[in-house]
């Protein structure tokens, strides 16, 4: 901490801090939000690839049941065939890793950390040390999760939802899963406090709330969701740990008989309680996954259509409403627990209501395209693809949100198709768009357009090959999480779809190679960005130099207008430029 806090307002002393720190303070235990953002990003990409890898292995078993995995199968089991034990572990860990260690850290940790302070014109996050701590707590959570694969009977295998009693009677990997989750939750809580305070308190002169870029709105809404929805899961996690380690019976009813033997617990608990507390988080979590993506896509569409976002205020209110409503729809995940008529009607109604702001958000983006002059850069391609993919994901939520149609579709591949459309070609595409879009800001260089286009077209084709067949498979009544669906007659009939999905998934994996190569190589050898604002962006991050220096802005910045406005010459005008 410095001693001259009283002249804080206009950074006269940014010479110290960034340049004379030792390596480990500058790049490892850094308090600079940009370094932490990159740390989050790199770790999250690693976990995304890891979680994706688990699924690639599972997809072999699904496409070719009980056949040895070629080449690498022997690494996992003696005969090279993925065992059902491993299959369940991989399934549970795929979900956990993708959601809690991959997408959220990338969308909230990396993009939030890097961009929110820049977009509000701050020099850093409000609590830089806390920021560093959130990253390292997240890192520890990740290490615990990875380590759980090496516990005696492997990692958690009760699905990412960890429903008790199954998860309570499961092997030790589940305890590590819970401990890992406590770390991840703590990290998210610290991070969201930081994001909210930064966005609200450190706004630069002239930046009123209604001048926040959509990404800031999205990140703040997300932070509120994390802040208020995660604690119940933390409580539930602690209770499940108590059930597992201290022999309590929060989630264990009386009279359990597991593999022929009466369980020696007091009983009297309620397994459904876990589902309530879990989904109290996990439904808002869906919006935690999607809102940052909505924000990123909004920024990219505004810049690449070269016109203001249509209905900025409507968009903002929709996001806030969406965030609020996301807290009262959670039990639509639990229709099949025997829910009564009154409560199921309540949750169906809230679920139908929440579709309204989603449609409004999509509509504002679609309407922004009207009358635009669309520049097809790689980020814009991904952002454009986000729209129909998100639409499919959203629309297929309807039959799942209505109890009657959910009777047939609940817990089938239809569900998997639905939420993957939202999260994979939805959120992940938006995040990739974000990477391409802000890469020149982060490094001062562009990523290759050619490789980017190859990446885009391969990905968009392959990813639909993965997820589109799932709707048909779900219609056919094939349950999710099946090790080998050919056991069932209706499963065997739908099996060819599995082959299509698996092959598409492997193509999708190959399609990511140019992306990774592009990201790595462009850092040093990419085309140089000719200015601080190569895309013609309107928000504050484009006022900083590329890459932004340690304290972001070398000259004081000020905001003069709403984020997406145009000048008298009918061109988009940055927020930070005063019109002559």
């Amino acid at each position: 901490m410095s001693h001259d806090t009283h002249n804080h307002a206009h950074g006269h002393n940014h010479s110290h801090g960034g340049h004379d720190l030792p390596f480990w303070r500058k790049y490892i235990f850094s308090t600079d939000h940009k370094v932490i953002g990159l740390q989050y990003g790199i770790t999250a990409v690693f976990f995304l690839l890891f979680g994706f890898g688990l699924m690639l292995l599972m997809r072999w078993q699904l496409a070719f049941p009980k056949q040895a995995i070629p080449l690498i199968g022997k690494l996992f089991t003696e005969d090279g065939i993925l065992s059902p034990e491993l299959y369940n572990q991989f399934g549970a860990m795929h979900g956990t890793i993708m959601v809690f260690l991959g997408v959220v850290p990338l969308a909230v940790g990396a993009f939030g950390n890097y961009l929110v302070p820049l977009q509000v014109g701050a020099h850093d996050m409000a609590f830089p040390k806390l920021n560093m701590m959130s990253y390292w707590v997240y890192f520890c959570g990740g290490v615990v999760m990875l380590a759980s694969f090496f516990s005696p009977n492997g990692a958690a295998a009760s699905g990412w939802t960890s429903y008790p009693p199954l998860s309570v009677v499961a092997d030790n990997g589940q305890s590590m899963w819970l401990i890992g989750m406590v770390f991840l939750i703590t990290s998210s809580l610290l991070g969201s406090v930081n994001t909210i305070v930064t966005a609200i308190q450190l706004r630069v002169k002239g930046l009123s709330f209604m001048r926040w870029p959509v990404l800031v709105w999205a990140q703040v809404t997300t932070a509120f969701l994390l802040l208020l929805a995660f604690p119940p899961l933390e409580a539930a996690g602690i209770m499940q740990l108590m059930d597992r380690l201290a022999g309590t019976s929060f989630f264990l009813p009386s009279g359990l008989v597991v593999s022929g033997e009466a369980l020696k617990v007091s009983g009297g608990g309620n397994p459904i309680l876990w589902q309530h507390l879990f989904w109290f988080l996990a439904h808002p979590e869906v919006y935690v996954l999607i809102l940052p993506a909505v924000g990123i896509v909004g920024e990219i569409i505004a810049v690449n259509t070269k016109k203001p976002l249509y209905g900025y205020k409507t968009l903002v209110y929709s996001m806030l409403f969406l965030g609020f409503m996301s807290f009262i729809v959670w039990a639509h995940h639990m229709f099949m627990t025997g829910m009564g008529v009154t409560m199921s009607t309540f949750f169906q109604a809230t679920t139908m209501i929440i579709s309204v702001p989603s449609v409004i958000i999509l509509t504002t983006y679609l309407l922004t395209l009207w009358g635009a002059s669309i520049r097809y850069t790689v980020p814009m391609l991904f952002a454009t693809a986000f729209l129909p993919m998100f639409a499919i994901g959203g629309l297929t939520g309807l039959p799942l949100g209505l109890t009657a149609s959910d009777i047939h579709l609940h817990d089938t591949y239809y569900v998997i198709g639905h939420f993957h459309y939202v999260v994979a070609p939805g959120t992940l595409f938006a995040l990739m768009a974000g990477v391409y879009f802000w890469y020149p800001k982060i490094t001062g260089r562009f990523m290759s357009e050619t490789l980017g286009k190859i990446h885009f077209w391969l990905s968009v084709t392959a990813i639909n090959g993965v997820f589109m067949p799932m709707f048909f498979m779900g219609m056919a009544g094939v349950s999710r999480r099946l090790y080998d669906q050919t056991v069932y007659a209706h499963g065997a009939a739908a099996q060819p779809l599995n082959v299509i999905m698996s092959v598409s998934a492997w193509i999708l994996a190959v399609a990511q190679l140019p992306f990774l190569y592009n990201m790595a190589v462009s850092w040093k050898w990419g085309k140089k960005a000719d200015s601080n604002n190569p895309w013609g962006g309107t928000t504050l991050e484009w006022a900083a130099s590329s890459p932004p220096p340690h304290e972001n802005f070398t000259t004081p910045v000020e905001v003069f207008r709403a984020p997406y406005e145009y000048s008298s010459t009918k061109k988009l005008l940055p927020q930070f430029v005063q019109e002559a």
């Binding site: 597991v258 203001p308 009607t345």
Partner: protein, 262 residues
């Protein structure tokens, strides 16, 4: 009894209430398709028409915007409300609330465990025998007390649910260990089997045939193997099977009062 035909779409429906569900599903998908194709056409049109090219400037003032979306939005809300009020809620109420009288239905207990289903018929007396945890072993998966007068004639049918056609069936669903899900794809029946709770459900078959029971909730390592069968029989076949089972339980004295067979 021929094999039902399965494919890439809804499996055949043989229940009385299933047609409503199928109707709702197809209505919903038509609605979704209309919306998606509408958006799609608009999107593609925009992407082509408003691409960046020489001589084309973005209309930053948004003068060309139209008011259609407002009506579309209102339309969507109305359609969703109708789907909920006129389709989903009544179907759910019918499935969950309008139970047939037990006297007119076949009542069975289904108990799920890792990784099998146990189907328990009350026998001729129409009363279920007591279940006692301490009696559970390999041959008695639910711990049925045969000493209990009500339990003597109870039929235990591992993994096979036999039911008569055109007669309502009431299932009392329970689980011994973890949460399972009792899923009859052709019957449009799905209900979590939750330990500690006995949850009722009902359905009525309209065709005979041999079908499958699937577990639709991850229940452990053998989840995929948790496959049961259900046979829908004609009333005569069903009665014949039932009497046969009773006979083998109680000997030829099946028709005599229960007390004598001790």
């Amino acid at each position: 009894m021929e094999q039902p035909h399965y494919g890439f779409w809804l499996p055949p429906n043989i229940s009385t209430h299933g047609a409503d569900i199928d109707n709702l599903i197809s209505t919903l998908h038509w609605f979704m398709a209309v919306l998606f194709i509408g958006w799609g056409i608009y999107l593609v049109y925009c992407l082509v028409k408003f691409r960046e090219r020489p001589g084309h400037e973005a209309d930053v003032e948004g003068k060309t915007h139209f008011v259609l979306p407002k009506y579309i939005e209102i339309g969507i809300i109305i359609v969703e409300a109708c789907l909920l009020i006129f389709f989903s809620a009544p179907i759910w109420a019918k499935v969950k609330k309008d139970f047939p009288k037990e006297s007119e239905a076949v009542v069975v207990k289904v108990t799920a465990e890792q990784f099998a289903w146990t189907i328990h018929y009350p026998g001729k007396d129409g009363k279920f025998g007591q279940l006692k945890t301490e009696l559970i072993d390999g041959t008695n998966p639910t711990g049925l007390d045969r000493e209990d007068p009500n339990g003597k004639d109870d039929i235990i049918s591992p993994n096979i649910l036999n039911i008569p056609v055109n007669k309502p069936i009431i299932v009392q669903l329970n689980a011994k260990d973890v949460i399972h899900n009792f899923f009859l794809p052709v019957m449009r029946v799905k209900q979590d089997a939750i330990p500690g709770m006995t949850i009722p459900l009902w359905f009525q078959a309209t065709q005979t045939g041999k079908f499958e029971i699937a577990c639709a909730q991850l229940c452990g390592v053998g989840h995929t193997q948790m496959r049961g069968f259900f046979n829908v029989m004609s009333q005569e076949e069903y009665d014949a099977w039932y009497n046969e089972e009773e006979k083998s339980l109680l000997g030829d004295t099946a028709t005599s009062p229960a007390g004598e067979t001790k």
